[in-house]
């Protein structure tokens, strides 16, 4: 119990006016400090799952969602849970509340009633952390998509959360904006040891996580390290997910009898490994 930040037990959920269950008996435990990517096709229930983590949705009698030891069913805990589990959404334009970057980063702190002196320090800290220094006074419409999402993450980080949830946070960005955001998330994880849960249908992005959870029609159908997941061709086909190019490349190289170990899943690792191979040749 003590070392899991997320505990989801027997979670089922049906949207009002809908016949089908959006989530079917989901069980998921995530230890502190892990980076989990929840992936699946459209309508697989992954975004619904994310909303339970932040007490935006509350489970019915049977299920339970416990975040850092607090049950989302307890009404008095919800603000506390939202402070622990900060969430960044998909559309960069629709989540900035305030007229400038610094005001927006401060929004969550204002809501929590943090005193002014502390607020100023924390706002500047998170702006610096997300590499937005110099853009403090910018209005949202004068920021790029990547900058807007980084501002949203800065707003989340200012709350000093234990868990950062990114709900398709990169899906509306261009490739460079996406790279910017992912780069910052990796830095956050390394420097703050924050638990990160990304919801994504992009397996290139999921490949960077410690663990991938594959969903289909409201059920978890696969759970493991990226290497374990990418090995299961049938599973990916069932979830209608496309393997990342780099994984395909590794597979073809193996067919050509190039020796590549299991742990290699990213472009950087592959390049390093191939260079090492070349030196030993």
């Amino acid at each position: 119990m003590g070392n899991n930040i997320i505990e989801i037990n027997h979670l089922s959920f049906r949207y009002r006016h809908s016949e089908e269950l959006a989530l079917k008996n989901v069980n998921l435990h995530v230890p502190y400090g892990q980076w989990v990517a929840v992936t699946g096709h459209n309508g697989s229930g992954k975004s619904t799952l994310a909303r339970f983590l932040n007490a935006l949705l509350i489970p019915d009698a049977e299920g339970a969602v416990i975040i850092g030891g607090l049950n989302t069913k307890t009404e008095g805990c919800r603000q506390e849970i939202r402070r622990k589990a900060a969430m960044v959404f998909q559309n960069p334009d629709n989540q900035m509340v305030a007229p400038t970057v610094e005001d927006d980063v401060a929004f969550g702190l204002e809501n929590a009633g943090v005193p002014y002196e502390e607020m100023v320090i924390r706002v500047q800290e998170s702006i610096d952390k997300l590499g937005l220094t110099g853009l403090e006074k910018r209005e949202p419409h004068r920021l790029s998509g990547g900058q807007k999402q980084r501002a949203a993450i800065a707003g989340a980080v200012a709350m000093k959360p234990e868990l950062l949830i990114l709900d398709e946070a990169t899906s509306m960005l261009d490739p460079s904006g996406r790279a910017e955001v992912i780069d910052q998330v990796q830095k956050l994880r390394d420097s703050e040891n924050m638990t990160i849960l990304t919801i994504t249908h992009d397996l290139n992005e999921a490949a960077l996580a410690d663990r991938i959870v594959v969903m289909r029609e409201g059920e978890i159908i696969g759970d493991g390290t990226p290497a374990q997941i990418f090995r299961q061709e049938d599973l990916l086909k069932e979830a209608s997910l496309k393997k990342p190019f780099i994984i395909e490349l590794i597979a073809s190289l193996r067919e050509k009898e190039v020796d590549i170990p299991e742990e290699v899943t990213t472009e950087e690792e592959l390049v390093n490994h191939l260079c090492r191979l070349k030196q030993t040749m």
């Binding site: 935006l56 334009d93 809501n111 209005e139 419409h141 989340a156």
Partner: protein
């Protein structure tokens, strides 16, 4: 097409007026307008005009920026002036025609009103030109706070205004995008009769409305996720600072008001 729309009329600057607290500026404007209608003594008018000129010089914003505000109001000013010419029947007749008679009282009364309106517009423009919309809403919220005790949702009103201001550029961007998309589908916004052109905007407005509702919903969820629960127990990141200059300005305008009352009652 919509890129060059400037939101608000704020002109950045470092003048004394720019640095003033928005609350002080709003208070001064309120005092100025209310007492302007108290007295019609020439000495008081001279004081009001000198105050306007003084603030105008202190703000250091070129006159052409005021023109926009004046142009809109010029119609109303000339209309009231002409109305007074014909309606007020005081003093000796100035011009007699078979159709109507113009009295001197009408001319002076009309001139008084026109002058009052003109300096009010200049003063009000001065505030919007030297204050960002955000500071203005902040100032309004603080000033309206006493009304909160009477059940007026001051925080909510100010917050709504701030969000509306924040989304104006976003919605303009979106409108431009929809116009382009509809043009790519053969819509025509620049030809035909006025009625046709107005009708051509219906296919722009409908998607804009739909998108705005979607945005509002997304924003509401994002705000809830970030722990927004109304104005209660909230702290503010923006702090308004009341400086000696603000006290001085409000005092100056209070003295002006007192002088107005004095000229009305005793002279």
């Amino acid at each position: 097409m919509l890129d060059n729309v400037i939101i608000g009329q704020y002109i950045p600057g470092k003048s004394l007026i720019h640095k003033m607290d928005p609350r002080a500026k709003l208070l001064c404007l309120l005092l100025f307008i209310v007492f302007l209608f108290v007295s019609r003594h020439p000495a008081f008018f001279i004081l009001a005009i000198s105050l306007t000129v003084l603030t105008f010089i202190a703000a250091g914003i070129p006159f052409r920026f005021y023109l926009k505000g004046i142009r809109i109001i010029a119609l109303i000013i000339s209309f009231t002036f002409i109305l007074h010419l014909f309606v007020t029947r005081e003093g000796p007749p100035l011009l007699e025609t078979p159709l109507f008679t113009i009295y001197t009282g009408g001319v002076t009364e009309g001139a008084f009103i026109a002058l009052r309106l003109l300096i009010i517009v200049i003063m009000a423009s001065l505030i919007t030109l030297t204050t960002t919309p955000v500071d203005l809403t902040d100032g309004l919220e603080k000033l309206m706070k006493p009304f909160g005790k009477l059940g007026v949702p001051t925080h909510e009103l100010a917050f709504m205004m701030a969000i509306a201001l924040r989304f104006i550029p976003t919605l303009l961007e979106e409108t431009a995008k929809i116009i382009k998309a509809q043009m790519a589908r053969g819509a025509n916004f620049t030809h035909g009769s006025l009625w046709r052109r107005i009708k051509a905007f219906v296919p722009v407005l409908i998607p804009l409305f739909v998108q705005s509702f979607k945005r509002a919903e997304d924003l509401a969820v994002a705000m809830e996720a970030r722990g927004y629960a109304g104005g209660h127990g909230r702290t503010k990141f923006r702090i308004l600072q009341w400086k000696p200059i603000d006290t001085a300005a409000v005092t100056l305008f209070a003295v002006y008001g007192a002088f107005g009352v004095y000229t009305r009652l005793f002279i």
